[in-house]
């Protein structure tokens, strides 16, 4: 991620190279998707954690519901990210 940021900001040629890599290379897309997937899951699970810090969804029933909702939202967003990347 840092490599791509560095490359894309270094020069016009570097930007083109980074953009081309993310548009052409299957492996680059797969790595990007992997990183984004982990980030998105962590992102939504973190929001659920903050909601629980505020004292919501701490009972068995609501907690299980919130956990399932987190998984579903993360799953859908990961699929959407895949569509966006490809």
């Amino acid at each position: 991620m840092m490599c791509v940021l560095s490359l894309s900001l270094e020069s016009q040629a570097g930007f083109n190279e980074a953009a081309e890599m993310l548009q052409e290379s299957f492996l680059a897309k797969l790595i990007a998707w992997g990183l984004v997937s982990a980030l998105l899951y962590h992102f939504f699970a973190g929001i659920k954690h903050l909601i629980m810090d505020m004292g919501h969804c701490e009972e068995l029933e609501s907690g299980q519901l919130a956990a399932k909702a987190t998984l579903i939202v993360a799953g859908v967003s990961i699929l959407l990210a895949g569509v966006w990347i490809w």
Partner: protein, 115 residues
């Protein structure tokens, strides 16, 4: 009294608070970046360079990098103190995390102020 010497702020409560504050910084930065990329589909180099040339964006990005590093340290510290029981292995693991964090900060500064 023996206090923890490897935790981020030497205090559990402080780490707890920092973990949440850094999480909020990262949340806003993530939402901002996703929004920016979604609304600028045909992004070119000039636009991308202009975005990171502003002092505000540099400060915000550096804040996000520092937040990420602190957030990662607290997270990795929690995991390693829970699961790596052997002190030597834990020390090596935490040192590697600390080294990586340092590298990311210096590298990030170099990228941001080298444009």
């Amino acid at each position: 009294m023996v206090t923890s010497i490897t935790s981020f702020g030497r205090s559990g409560l402080y780490d707890w608070m920092m973990q949440r504050v850094t999480a909020l910084v990262l949340l806003t930065y993530t939402v901002f970046m996703i929004g920016y990329l979604l609304f600028n589909p045909g992004l070119d180099y000039e636009q991308w360079k202009d975005l990171f040339s502003g002092t505000g964006m540099r400060i915000y990005t550096l804040l996000a990098i520092l937040s990420m590093v602190a957030h990662a340290w607290i997270g990795m510290w929690s995991v390693s103190t829970d699961y790596i029981k052997q002190a030597g292995a834990r020390f090596v693991f935490q040192s590697a995390c600390g080294l990586l964090a340092f590298i990311y900060v210096v590298w990030g500064v170099q990228i941001l102020w080298g444009i």
